[in-house]
Subunit: 457 residues, 2 copies
Amino acid sequence: MSLTEVLDRIDSDLDAAVDRLMALLRIPSISTDPAYAAECDRAADWLVEDLRGLGVRAEKRATPGHPMVVGHVEGEGPHLLFYGHYDVQPVDPLELWDTPPFEPELQDTPKGRVLRGRGTSDDKGQLMTFVEACRAWKAVHGSLPCRITFFFEGEEESGSPSLVPFMKENREELTSDIALICDTGLFGHDTPAIVTMLRGMLQEEVTITGPSKDLHSGMFGGIARNPAHVLTDVLAALHDEKGAVTVPGFYDDVPELPPAIAAQWEALNFDAGKFLGEVGLKHPAGEEGRSGLEMIWSRPTAEVNGMWSGYTGEGFKTVLPSKAHAKISFRLVGDQDPHKISTAFRQFVRDRVPEDCTVDFVDGMGASPASAMSTEHPAFEAARGALSDEWPNAAAFVGCGGSIPIAGYFKSITGTDAMLIGFGRDDDQLHSPNEKYDLECFHKGIRSWARILDALT
Amino acid sequence: MSLTEVLDRIDSDLDAAVDRLMALLRIPSISTDPAYAAECDRAADWLVEDLRGLGVRAEKRATPGHPMVVGHVEGEGPHLLFYGHYDVQPVDPLELWDTPPFEPELQDTPKGRVLRGRGTSDDKGQLMTFVEACRAWKAVHGSLPCRITFFFEGEEESGSPSLVPFMKENREELTSDIALICDTGLFGHDTPAIVTMLRGMLQEEVTITGPSKDLHSGMFGGIARNPAHVLTDVLAALHDEKGAVTVPGFYDDVPELPPAIAAQWEALNFDAGKFLGEVGLKHPAGEEGRSGLEMIWSRPTAEVNGMWSGYTGEGFKTVLPSKAHAKISFRLVGDQDPHKISTAFRQFVRDRVPEDCTVDFVDGMGASPASAMSTEHPAFEAARGALSDEWPNAAAFVGCGGSIPIAGYFKSITGTDAMLIGFGRDDDQLHSPNEKYDLECFHKGIRSWARILDALT
């Protein structure tokens, strides 16, 4: 009965909830670019204000990087913690955006109404689904259903340098019965998903230096070592002809999929062609002999995320570059140790750099192991049921190709199990131009959290 | 006797000549970047004014690109044409310049006094050596020694798109007994050189497209084709383990060096280690079994001049890029046909691009064949003698690794032999930060032209 009232309240308050989200989206809180530090601060202030409106004891907490937002409300029953991040990815290439990334819009599209703008789906819109569920609950009941800790981060898109130290310093305060994390997606169009398997990540930046300065390719071309050639040799050697990563020992700690999980994934009838068709591709390009879901959920990868060398402007400059750079990320699974992989990768590069070149690596670009959730905690079944009530299809336990190290940190630092539930869709264009979040996902996401709060208390 | 007076005049007027050059150097006439079109125009105006001061009928001549400057003076004896270019290379990376590139300075260095700034050596400083020689001649004699045509280009650093059409339209006007070109260097520190062999150039820009947009490497990494990987595979395949270019048919029209030239080069005692030591390198990186001078003068090359893909900013963006780009230039020799090489290269790339990717090429980036001067023209021996009188070492006929297509155009369009004489040094940092031109080269360059004018008339 009272749940129905909360759900009705969510429906009637949706327009106002969208307006609140828009205000947060207008703050360009790009965490990876120091130029936007003040905007990250503004986003944190906005969230503190909003939480205080719910009667939450919320405050902005300083870190060496961007601030955390932490809030508490007391209550009976279980102690829940909710995590989200208020920072967003950079927006380049800006010219590919159809509307300004930080002037969010509600747009009607052939696929329905969408919220368009950077952060709509990753992660401001998702973060607010939980906040809005709490707002509706409080409007109906006068208080929140149980003890809840709110924990919002501002460095998730830039490797979370302050997260582990902050969680360790505030271990007691951040310890709960279960951590709820909203930064993932539905499976397919409308199958709610609880992520129980997450890939880890290692980020490397490599610079190869040849000549002491850029050279005239006429005067020196053909005799001077070109570091761009050295870099392409190294990167080309990173995969074999079967799509496997060639770094020695890379697969040592990669487990095969347990038959039970394999069977469950089989049942999801993942259509790799359709999945790739959404982005203009046809053929899975990963390891030969692996299924599409294995490629994105349970197999490790090495991807060049950026590379640059020499003259990249308009026209032509016949320069022989002094330096060549690449940003490379590894998605890690099972027991792969990021530090062990980093050491092996750096040796792999050094082994391929000729005597006349030097190679430099940037330390601390980001390293987190993969994590697997224990689904024994009763909250998992309770949440699965609540999600199945809201959506047309039954909820499923799935994997996630993205890296959400926070889940592992809750286990390792506070001993808390984490439950990852999110409402994004594959076509949300995360990290890309024209990012969007379906209004339906925002709406049903809020309703889903209300149902989960009801089921857990 | 009168030559001595001209040389004395050059010595006494040197400071004023430097001031005039500085004024030209302050104009940022970067031809490859459309943003600087007006500055190219200003540089042309400046030269027209200066030539008129010498009694030359000079004017700025419009082209679809940057203007040409053409001037004439009548006179007895041979008809000489002098060519130089007033445009310069871009200046990035700007942070590596010790002084602003377009605020030229006269600096005292351990190696002597230098003119520092973009264009000092390539080619404004060299262009002015001839103009100043004429100025001194006129001051002493009241007129120039013979009929002279001045021909200055503003697109040399951006592939000279307007040059051939302009030369064809104005063939008669630009036909002379011999064309003098000042855009080359001394051999070693102070051996004057007349270039009789020039490499040609082919410039290609390649774009490989995979996904229709940038993707989240967590969601798509491991299953989606990464065009950066495809590009590195292609570029890594461009050379074999012996440093030879692997494009099919690339060496078909590459001649072996004539024994006479080979012997002459042998006598120059080129020290590849010392040459490379100037730029922080030790080992020749070209084709196995070729001498250093062959690598830079008589062998063709393929060099990556620029490449870029994905996120290249500060921090890390775990994006799987939609596109990967490269600018590649080929130095051509002998009878290599730029168009034939372009076709073979593009097929080489297409053969390595998987079904899920598309490849695009930019047409008209620049293509010119190699050229060899006929040294039978008596002017070559006359100039060699004049240069030998000015410098401590006897002048030599040499090759040049850079591409100066203009030399070939004079032969093919006007039927005129071209004589390439320049006074740059290997450490001038052409096309690089902190470009300089030794004051001694500027001074003795002016004196050299006065001697050559005397020898030719």
